[in-house]
């Protein structure tokens, strides 16, 4: 009993999937960065900590931005759905 998805929803889902893939990719980079920084720190190389923290912060901000993008797409798709269902309603 599959429910029919509106074109707006489909586009929204595609955009969300794309954003999700990008976030996952950034997260892998951030994981590697944290591991490498920890290894360097334990080896006594403290000079890498600052650039690593800055890059990690930038990646987090990009991920946050993508999350806001996902939320906005979601909101717009819901609004579009609401308008479509209102216009398709049969007048009484």
């Amino acid at each position: 009993m599959a429910e029919k998805t509106s074109p707006g929803r489909k586009q929204g889902l595609t955009a969300i999937d794309g954003a999700l893939a990008l976030i996952a990719l950034l997260l892998i980079v951030q994981m590697w960065l944290l591991t490498a920084t920890l290894e360097s720190y334990l080896a006594g190389h403290h000079e890498v900590a600052l650039p690593a923290a800055i890059i990690s912060g930038v990646i987090f901000l990009v991920c946050g931005g993508l999350y806001l993008f996902v939320a906005r797409i979601d909101s717009e798709a819901r609004q579009a759905d609401g308008e479509t269902s209102t216009s398709n309603e049969r007048p009484e």
Partner: protein
């Protein structure tokens, strides 16, 4: 920050537990995205923690410490001591008549104690067969990721004095 509130006009519980299948797919993706962003925040916090730790723990100034007199160590022999603190075991080696070298005794892999293999003239870690050069502490073989930290020695008359540490670079 209106984006962080639920995006539709419905109450939040209706948003999260929708009766429509398509909405369910939406919610799971949104929640997963939120989870990933929180994970990203956690790793940023981890990096910031490392930064704070490295700023707070600046390299300590090493004190000088008498180890032993040069004649105490025979050629091909070793002398165990602790430097810079009592928790840091080190090994002094005299590979030939005029040469004295000292390294931290903790293997850089998993901190097992390394020992001097005189016949092969190298430092060996018995746990995972990591071998280090006696000349400069470099990794010769095995899993250790970096050379052994070297103790900087000075010879004052017959006395051998430790004056600092030189942590090995990444290989």
């Amino acid at each position: 920050m209106r984006f962080f509130r639920h995006s539709s006009q419905d109450p939040l519980w209706q948003d999260e537990f929708s009766i429509h299948a398509a909405d369910e797919r939406y919610v799971s993706r949104r929640q997963f995205t939120k989870f990933l962003v929180l994970t990203s925040l956690g790793m940023f916090v981890g990096n910031t923690w490392i930064l704070v730790r490295s700023l707070l723990s600046r390299r300590p100034g090493y004190s000088e410490k008498n180890i032993c007199s040069a004649s105490d160590v025979p050629v091909g022999g070793v002398w165990l001591f602790r430097y810079p603190t009592e928790k840091d075991p080190c090994i002094l080696i005299r590979p030939d008549e005029q040469t004295y070298v000292a390294y931290s005794q903790k293997c850089t892999h998993l901190s097992c104690a390394v020992y001097y293999a005189r016949k092969k003239n190298r430092l060996e870690c018995p746990c995972h067969e990591g071998y280090f050069s006696v000349r400069n502490g470099d990794v010769l073989q095995g899993p250790p990721p970096r050379p052994l930290p070297r103790v900087i020695l000075e010879r004052r008359g017959d006395q051998l004095v430790a004056v600092g540490m030189d942590s090995g670079k990444e290989t």
